[in-house]
Amino acid sequence: MSKTETLVRALVDKHGKSRNSLMPVLQGVVKEERYLSEEAMLEVARELDISAADVFGTASFYTFLDTVPRGSYVIRVCKTIACHMAGKDVVIDALSDMLKIKVGETTVDGKFTLLTANCLGWCHKGPVMLVNDEVFPQITAQKAVEIVEEYARKK
């Protein structure tokens, strides 16, 4: 059994085989593997006995359920209006410069992915940045770079 199969089966054991388990299982896979591979989605479909297209459809609906490979650290900068007015563009440009990737891309070492996100609910403290599950409000270009440098030093 592949690593992904083992992971999916463990998640299904934990959450159950009903249709309602689809979301927590998909979230569990993303937490471990950072994205939903074709193999993972097929395995989820098989385990929950639902159609593979249905799993893909659900995954594609949610921005946080990626279906393309992502880096170990997924950076999401809020792109909606409050953060835009608070200067999210400068933050994105700085990160893009530092990581040498454009929005939507992943660094060659597979460590960072740079994405934009819709409203993260921190309008009063924009611009806001998310690294995996960690929130960084009221960032500046410099702060953003420092935070990412901090992550870069991690394993």
Partner: protein
């Protein structure tokens, strides 16, 4: 539905309908038509297209009449100024995301969106055109179905059809907002996913987003080629469906006119799939009796029972994907279409002194999966592609119109010979339960020497529109060579619509039900409700088509497959005996498991 009646007013006219009815249903009772797009009588309610909006006194917003249940004292207006403006805007908004390439669209003249646009006289470019260039890339990977996202209005009838009626789930809704689209797993092409090619989605698509791959031009080219001998076969369900596309009411039998029209179009020989349907009964009936003998007399444990039918190519692809472990249960018989194809380029060619390479074999089918079936690598027993082109009932109706034939005024004509003779048993292949009934009529008689013990040969327990039906026939008074079947209770089951087939086969797989013989038809109602039949479809229309099928059966002089004189002849002249060497080579095949996920 509840017995409790709810009183309301629609356009100031009082009406009383059962509790739980929708506004659309109540309005229908008063003959007020409310337009719908995402609504379909065979499917669950979605309420997403908003074309059916109506005004309810006291309500804050307009309501979707297809989804809104009636309430006591409700006052509904189906045609107020507010409603008309909103509805027109809804249609215009749908059109802003629709590739309105109407004149070149296959659905031109048969499109529900086009009809509404005409009815509401939509403005010219009221909203910006938002059709994405990438959506205009057609998916023509499948030989059966063509998918055009640029014409999709995301009503999701196809998604509901694929899931609710067929339990296939090849199509799903992906993404959201302006990115929302109907797609397959990982946006793969239709040919590479679990799609069974049944075409039920086509029957319900209100636009040209899902249509059959059409081969009319290719067929015209061959008809016009003097060096080609073009033979055509017509499936049982075509003769009771075709009229609907040519100005007749559902349930009209047009067999004689169908033959006339095909001759007018210029086919060299107009033949009948009914002939090979009868042949299928001989082969499949013998196969079943052989399996029973091996199981009961020889105690052969490798024999697989229950045996299932194999006529429906949608069912075959479904079982390949969904129950690959049950493939040994499937009869090895090819479908009547493919038996016909294999014989057209061998037996027919010999008898007529034709070189098979100059024969073009066309079939008219109520089915889109038949297009896929004809292209299967297994279907080249004659040394050529056995069936070259498959046209749906709808495509034939178009060709008849193109040929300038006034269909309703045609005289009735008879099928040509050879391979043009069919019995009533073959005609009922077009209805769910029909293959079962035809097989029982023949098998019972082979075994006992007597006709099936049902009034006028009508085996009513296997008829009807119940999703899964069961019947038991006790065999008594057997002939000596079949004495091992004396007293055996033959248990049979019939399923139509793949959602029902899945339920039945799951029970078989889990050994929760035991049968000897199972008939499965992929489409609701059987072939009469096939993906290639005239649009629209509903339970009521399918019921009328079924009545026509059974009327056609009763009207035929011969109603048992083994009495078909051409079938008797072919065994004498060519095939030898059922399951014989030649039958095996030409009329039987095996299928392979496919990935479900």
């Amino acid at each position: 539905m509840s017995n409790y009646m709810v009183n309301l007013k629609i356009n100031n006219i009082p009406v009383s309908v059962p509790e739980g009815s929708t506004i659309v249903q109540a309005a229908n009772k008063l003959n007020f038509r409310i337009p719908t797009l995402c609504f379909h009588p065979d499917l669950s309610v979605a309420g997403n297209c908003r074309v059916c909006v109506v005004e309810i006194t006291g309500a804050r917003a307009l309501a979707a009449a297809c989804a809104m249940p009636v309430a006591e004292g409700m006052e509904v207006f189906t045609n107020s100024a507010k409603v008309r403006t909103a509805r027109k805007h809804v249609i215009e908004l749908l059109l802003s995301e629709h590739n309105a390439d109407c004149t070149k669209c296959f659905k031109n003249g048969h499109c529900e969106l086009q009809e509404l646009a005409a009815e509401y006289r939509v403005g010219d470019h009221v909203f910006l055109d938002l059709v994405k260039a990438s959506d205009k890339i057609l998916d023509i990977s499948s030989p059966s179905i063509q998918k055009d996202n640029s014409k999709c209005i995301r009503c999701q009838r196809c998604v509901r059809t694929c899931e609710e009626l067929q339990a296939v789930g090849a199509l799903a809704v992906a993404c959201k907002g302006d990115h929302q689209r109907i797609t397959t797993f990982m946006d793969k092409s239709l040919h590479n996913v679990v799609c069974t090619n049944c075409g039920q989605c086509i029957n319900r698509c209100p636009t040209g987003a899902l249509v059959e791959r059409n081969y009319m031009e290719e067929v015209w080219d061959h008809i016009n080629n003097p060096f080609k001998h073009v033979v055509v076969q017509t499936a049982p369900a075509v003769r009771i469906g075709l009229g609907e596309d040519l100005g007749l009411e559902p349930g009209h039998r047009v067999t004689g006119k169908l033959v006339s029209a095909l001759k007018h179009i210029g086919f060299d020989s107009v033949l009948d799939t009914d002939f090979t349907a009868d042949l299928t009964i001989m082969e499949e009936g013998t196969e079943l009796l052989t399996r029973l003998k091996k199981a009961i007399v020889d105690k052969d444990e490798t024999v697989t029972l229950p045996m299932t039918t194999s006529c429906s190519p949608g069912w075959i692809k479904f079982i390949e994907h969904t129950f690959p472990e049950l493939l040994p249960n499937v009869s090895t018989c090819k479908s009547p279409q493919q038996m016909f194809g294999a014989l057209a380029k061998t037996y027919y060619a010999q008898k007529k002194g034709l070189d098979p390479k100059n024969i073009v074999s066309v079939s008219i089918m109520p089915c889109t999966a038949k297009k896929f079936e004809a292209n299967r690598p297994e279907m080249r027993a004659s040394g050529y592609q056995d069936v070259d082109y498959v046209l749906t009932t709808r495509e034939l109706a178009m060709m008849i119109k193109q040929a300038g034939i006034e269909f309703t005024k045609l005289d009735d004509m008879h099928y040509d010979s050879i391979m043009g003779e069919g019995t009533g048993a073959a005609v009922i292949f077009g209805a769910t339960g029909g293959v079962m009934e035809a097989a029982l009529r023949t098998a019972y008689e082979i075994v006992t020497g007597r006709e099936v013990p049902f009034n006028n040969l009508n085996i009513t327990p296997v008829r009807g529109m119940e999703g899964v039906r069961e019947a038991t026939i006790t065999i008594t008074g057997t002939r000596p060579e079949w004495s091992f079947l004396e007293g055996v209770e033959m248990k049979v089951a019939v399923a139509h619509g793949l959602v029902n087939a899945k339920e039945l086969m799951t029970a078989v797989r889990d050994q929760k039900a035991s049968y000897h013989f199972i008939e499965v038809m992929a489409c609701p109602g059987g072939c009469l409700g096939g993906g290639g039949q005239p649009i629209p479809t509903s339970a009521d229309i399918r019921e009328k088509r079924a009545q026509a099928i059974y009327a056609e059966d009763e009207g035929l002089p011969i109603r048992k497959s083994h009495e078909n004189p051409e079938v008797v002849q072919i065994y004498k002249d060519f095939l030898g005996e059922p399951l014989g060497h030649r039958s095996h080579a030409l009329l039987h095949t095996h299928y392979k498991p496919r990935k479900r996920y």
